[in-house]
Assembly symmetry: C2
Homo-oligomer: 333 residues x 2
């Protein structure tokens, strides 16, 4: 059967208190007994039961990660980088796919709370904030990542989406484009990107292509294709399209090519995220890069520092996007 501290204690002729102390390097134990106990633990292949110690108030060393969709490269790369840092810091991740579905979000939150995770990293939509609010009032550590809630005080590491949109628009406008379409889902971050985008347009006395509207298909590639077709078939076809993520951009490029357009000659397109698929796309996609690795590290570090109460003030880390030039945009002639 499972070996417990009792077994170790008996075998080593000490009390369980002593065993517990050598386990945690706490209290004062003579070098001699420490050696002996450790020895016995090896022999018996003793594995401490974390459930019991967590029940006594210690950490579970487990973080809940709520993410919209692991099959989306941006999120899987983000999850990967968070897990990497977690591993270094000895935390495990319970990863949950929410599909931006509020009911799923809430269900996961409540279930993981019952499992007493040490904290939550939220990368999901959470258009309804009440449950998140609840976590906070219960003093459960929460960090938001890749999703901003400017209206409400919570720890977060986010991208400066406004700047992202700004950069994209600036690049396109600098290339001489005057009729630009945008493709985006109706998410907070995208509204920010649009704000940045509009800012540049306004500076240049330009306006968005009037066919713009938010898309809502879950399959991003398909969404990109459909919206691209709509833009291309309209009687006032844009010369450039800014897609709010790389998958959308991939769809745009696909459809544009199928409709006989040359990228970037007939249509410039810039994506967002800089996931690993950008180099697969033909032509390689010019995109606004999110520093995914960094983001993962920052969010995990922030989480852990909150858990350890190293900082009581809420803090917010904002990372900057950057423009990565490849081959999908071109100066207008």
């Amino acid at each position: 059967m499972k070996v417990t501290i009792y077994d170790v204690a008996k075998e080593a002729n000490v009390s369980i208190a002593t065993v517990s102390k050598v386990l945690n390097n706490s209290g004062r134990i003579s070098e001699k007994t420490r050696k002996k106990v450790k020895q016995i633990m090896k022999e018996l292949n003793y594995q401490p039961n974390m459930l019991a110690s967590a029940l006594m108030g210690k950490q579970t060393k487990t973080i809940g990660l709520l993410i919209p969709d692991l099959a989306n490269p941006f999120f899987s790369e983000l999850a990967r980088s968070i897990e990497d840092r977690g591993n270094e810091l000895d935390y495990h991740l319970v990863i949950c796919n929410t599909d931006y579905n509020n009911a799923k979000e809430n269900r996961y939150l409540s279930l993981l709370k019952q499992k007493r995770v040490d904290g939550f990293i939220l990368a999901s939509g959470f258009e309804k904030l009440d449950k998140v609010q609840e976590l906070i009032s219960e003093e459960i550590p929460v960090v938001i990542v890749a999703r901003d809630f400017p209206m409400f005080s919570v720890n977060a590491v986010a991208l400066d989406d406004f700047t992202g949109g700004y950069l994209a628009a600036k690049h396109l406008v600098d290339l001489g484009h005057k009729n630009i379409g945008v493709i985006a889902r109706d998410l907070w971050s995208n509204r920010e990107r649009l704000r940045g985008f509009h800012h540049v347009l306004a500076e240049n006395h330009l306006t968005l292509n009037p066919n713009f509207q938010f898309v809502n298909e879950v399959d991003h590639i398909k969404a990109g294709r459909n919206m691209a077709a709509k833009y291309i078939h309209s009687d006032n076809r844009p010369t450039a399209i800014f897609a709010c993520n790389d998958l959308l951009a991939a769809g745009v490029i696909q459809m544009a090519k199928e409709l006989g357009l040359d990228i970037p000659q007939d249509l410039s397109v810039v994506g967002f995220d800089n996931t690993s698929i950008v180099s697969i796309i033909e032509p390689p996609l010019t995109t606004i890069a999110q520093p995914i690795q960094n983001m993962g590290k920052e969010v995990m570090d922030l989480m852990v520092s909150i858990i350890n109460e190293e900082k009581d003030a809420k803090s917010r880390v904002t990372l900057l996007p950057s423009l990565v030039l490849r081959k999908s945009t071109k100066k207008i002639t």
Copy 2:
């Protein structure tokens, strides 16, 4: 503070035993008290502590998933499908990236054992099987997925890799190719695919392009590029390449195009996995499809049935790959 069964019991004027019973729908409780207790639980917003109940021998409802790399589309899609099924069955997933590194694998195993996960789903390499063997002898449920261990009796849901290789070779040979290159990492599943591949070649008195050798870069796209360059520059250039995953194939296509070859006119390429990136590749990739959704469901179902001891005999589910024709292969002329 945290509300426990004691609080609920007190408030409802019953014993904690009664509360526990209504919680688990066990024992016989009068409808009246059941109602009352449930009512109080609502009011107090009582959340049962799973740590405590797991400590008493109940399940943790958590499964450890060891996977090589979440940033690889095949694995993230697989993880996604496993998690989906887990969610339906009320299990959470702790996801760990192993990078095919045996030390990491073992470390995760031991840590998750301490957390008393109900079982392990292993999608990682595990070239050293001792720790897996150990799990089995400790009667901890284990299922292997997307990775076969024919030599050793363990529950598994795997792809018929031999058939996968067979299908790829058959397709290429049917198109008239006689000089075919292969690109693969040295993994068990790839050795099987090669076996199936060779089988077809032998049937047709053909032999593999002699420049073949296993690759081992971790960056698959890069690996595909490098190996493709090698094949293309050799003085006996293959007319077709079988890449053992889609990423590798993407690299091949990229490099081939950079070197001025037309796909599929000058070089046919078939991939493996049928991940979502295939439709982004130009031209769309002909590939051997793994039924990823199915695989995720099967593995989770198998896991749960083992946990619930619905089957004591080891079982092994083998799924069949299929050829998906797209535009990257062409009849030789």
